[in-house]
Subunit: 153 residues, 2 copies
Amino acid sequence: MPNTQPPIQLNSQLCFQLYTANKKFNKFYQDALSPFSLTYPQYIAMLTLWQYAPLSVKELGNHLHLDSGTLTPLLKRLESHNWIKRERSHKDERTVIIQLTHMAVTNRDSVFKRVSNCFKVLNLTPQEKAACSETIATIEAHLDHYNEQHNAN
Amino acid sequence: MPNTQPPIQLNSQLCFQLYTANKKFNKFYQDALSPFSLTYPQYIAMLTLWQYAPLSVKELGNHLHLDSGTLTPLLKRLESHNWIKRERSHKDERTVIIQLTHMAVTNRDSVFKRVSNCFKVLNLTPQEKAACSETIATIEAHLDHYNEQHNAN
DNA sequence: AGCAATTTAATTGCGAACAATACGTTATTT
DNA sequence: AAATAACGTATTGTTCGCAATTAAATTGCT
């Protein structure tokens, strides 16, 4: 007879590990980004905007899996620190278009360099990075499948 | 001449992946725990308390790497849902001792079973779980080393 | 074409979590 | 007894999800 008992311990350990690792990762990025008055989520948003701007709030939200209720205040903070401009579309007055400021364009490489240097200090080998990326992708695929099943969309 | 250019893309990708994977994991746990009016961080705290209670706020914070400023409101919510009792120590009136309620003890196995079932649906092989655990441990070790260097303690 | 109903986009408000800081009370140390 | 340390609480700012609201655009019907 096979063992049908749930492996409580391993699940709990995974849960715990992910929780604390995520917090440490936040701290790492917070430190890396502090010279630019950017928070971790703000940086993620800027990463997307550096690549795809201009974007509407809705489009940005699709990239980040965030709804506008979360993005609006975040974007206002980015605007107040002069990273982005927000203006309503002339074609469709409902949508707000996010554009990069001149400052954001000029300082992009400084931010990248800083983050890159912090990563260097982390001392992850390319193999470790690749393994991490792959592991996360695997877990994420399972999570996507689960969440699709359990959320009426 | 070796390539000294920073691998921006890979770092950004890692950063982005971790960000979104973490959110999906939160969602997964939120769904798993919703029948018990427990949030993910509250569950993490309960995991620790089921194993080590009674604990002072300070001791619990050491397990979770959280300070009392974060824990106090969280513990009040747990208390209001009758998961724990909070009372000041007679020996040292500064410390608050957290104890499990009868309900928490009785319902422990139900919570474990529910989480375990949700994990089953996730369909992670033992190999995938182990790989995940190992990867996280590796990254975490690097992060610990980094954060030690960069935070005056 | 013109009006009503529906859909879509963004904002606002609420509760929870987290970090950082300041504050007040209680112990300990000198 | 006074200074210092430890501990928990309160406060502020950011993030996140969800629900309700407002405004604009689209669709459907007559």
